[in-house]
């Protein structure tokens, strides 16, 4: 590193003037996440039997399962993406998607003060599941505060969370 000018950074600084930037033009150019990267938990209410194992094992307490009411919900902002729920699920109802959801904003806060990032699914009532006309699975963004909403109150599927 014998540099007569004693400016060891100078050659690189000069090279940087003519070379391409190291960064991407981010919003226009996005690097896809690698295979196997942990992003967001995805849930399939059709196969879930509400065994509550995912809720018990979740280290962040992000998952809430109400077995009686057949409601499965997750707080995406609390979830730490450790993959434990996916590994313990015997029915393979949970999967880890590679991509993260976009940032949750204040605008996502529901009318009842639900946290942004809350997402819940209502499972079909086993007694009435045979009726095909009933909306068996609907992802809703509205969270009942205390008393769980009846199944019939499930709103039209919306881009929840």
């Amino acid at each position: 590193m014998a540099n007569p000018l004693r400016l060891p950074m100078a050659p690189r600084a000069l090279r940087n003037l003519v070379s391409r930037p190291s960064t991407r033009r981010y919003p226009d150019e996005v690097r896809p996440r690698f295979e196997g990267a942990r992003g967001t938990i995805e849930f399939d209410v059709e196969t879930c039997n509400f065994c509550m194992l995912c809720m018990r094992r979740c280290p962040a307490a992000a998952i809430r399962v109400a077995r009686e009411e057949r409601i499965w919900s997750i707080e995406h902002l609390t979830c730490v993406g450790c993959n434990v729920c996916v590994e313990v699920c015997a029915r393979k109802s949970l999967t880890m998607s590679r991509d993260s959801k976009p940032v949750h904003t204040r605008a996502d806060v529901g009318p009842l003060g639900q946290r942004p990032g809350h997402e819940e699914w209502h499972g079909a009532d086993p007694a009435t599941a045979a009726t095909p006309s009933l909306p068996a699975a609907a992802a809703v963004s509205q969270l009942p505060t205390a008393a769980p909403a009846p199944i019939a109150a499930a709103q039209a599927p919306s881009a929840a969370g």
Partner: protein, 361 residues
């Protein structure tokens, strides 16, 4: 002479995390420094009461965002020693590889922050550009850039194929060569020498007296490296702890720069020694609940970390305690700050590589 108290932190341009020092000044000289910690206490150790032992490793990993892999590994090694679980050989070597890569990542991050603290923005960007490539390796192999969640009691969750390991090694060796040029800047730039050489000198005797750990102690010439105790496969690797004798801020920078190269070499040795092939066992499932207590020591990028785990035969541990390297280095930092100029305080604080979120958990 009249004394002035200058509060340093919790918000300060050089501090990545909230550390508070009340600096007592006489003119420009610091005569006393009173540290206060506790600004980012999160009560992670208390969470053993709620989180089952099998998942507590993911919480332990979140003690720190830089040495996260080692915290998760330390927790798992502790539980493995309580439950007498033998980790399969390939999993053990994978842990060594990830641990050394995370050391490179941590040191590059710190070198960048150090350059930023003494006003060398260009160098800061250069270090962080290299660190980004390491984070890509982590995302590819573990699924997470910062929080890897790949350790489990009894082994690791993911395998890395032999061809991918070879590609990682090539990438690391390229990175090592690129890093040599950056290291040359740290070693030869006159402005860096002006800020760091001879500043904050900790003698070997003092380093022992205040129980400094990690690069802080090694920069003062104390041969101290927990990896020498040979845990988790390090006994089969050929390495000498990096030591310097000057004990000043520049020596601490040089120790970390040399450790980056040493870690690349350790990854190379580990890949050469690990059993090759597809489908080798990666974990031994532990049976039952743990009962007993243990101490575990690991060499983190910042120095020796100590875990104490006490289990009582239930699903929840009774106690989980981590003594982090920054906590051990704070007395050394206070000793160095006393008697220095106010303008040198940021550099002295930064060269201990403080990780306050580790310290306060």
């Amino acid at each position: 002479m009249k004394r002035t108290v200058v509060p340093f932190g919790p918000q300060h341009p050089v501090l990545p995390e909230p550390l508070v020092l009340d600096l007592v000044l006489e003119d420009e000289k610091v005569v006393d420094a009173v540290p206060t910690i506790g600004y980012i206490h999160r009560g992670l150790e208390m969470m053993v009461e709620r989180v089952e032992y099998s998942e507590m490793g993911f919480v332990a990993e979140r003690i720190c965002g830089i040495c996260s892999f080692m915290h998760g590994m330390g927790y798992c090694v502790s539980l493995e020693s309580i439950m007498n679980v033998e980790v399969p050989e390939r999993a053990r070597w994978l842990r060594v590889i990830w641990a050394e890569i995370s050391r490179i990542q941590s040191h590059l991050l710190w070198l960048g922050l150090g350059a930023d603290a003494f006003g060398f923005e260009n160098l800061f960007m250069d270090c962080w550009r290299m660190r980004e490539e390491i984070l890509d390796i982590f995302e590819k192999t573990t699924g997470g850039r910062i929080i890897h969640s790949v350790n489990r009691i009894g082994g690791v969750k993911r395998d890395v194929s032999d061809s991918e390991l070879a590609a990682i090694l090539v990438k690391l060796e390229d990175l090592g060569r690129a890093f040599d040029r950056t290291a040359g800047v740290f070693a030869n730039d006159p402005s860096i020498h002006h800020r760091l050489a001879g500043v904050g000198v900790l003698s070997a005797t003092d380093a022992r007296a205040v129980d400094a750990v990690g690069p802080m102690a090694r920069a003062s010439g104390v041969v101290m490296d927990t990896r020498l105790s040979g845990t988790s496969g390090y006994d089969q690797l050929d390495f000498e702890p990096v030591t310097e004798t000057a004990g000043d801020c520049l020596a601490r920078v040089v120790v970390r720069m040399r450790e980056v190269r040493q870690s690349v070499d350790l990854v190379r040795q580990a890949i050469a020694r690990m059993p090759k092939g597809e489908g080798l066992p990666l974990e031994t499932r532990p049976r039952g609940n743990p009962a007993g207590e243990t101490f575990t020591r690991l060499e983190q990028p910042r120095g020796e970390v100590l875990y104490y785990v006490k289990a009582n035969g239930t699903k929840n541990l009774e106690r989980f305690r981590a003594r982090t390297p920054t906590f051990a280095n704070i007395p050394a930092m206070i000793k160095l700050v006393k008697g220095c100029d106010l303008a040198d305080v940021p550099n002295i604080i930064l060269t201990i590589d403080p990780c306050i979120s580790c310290t306060e958990r």
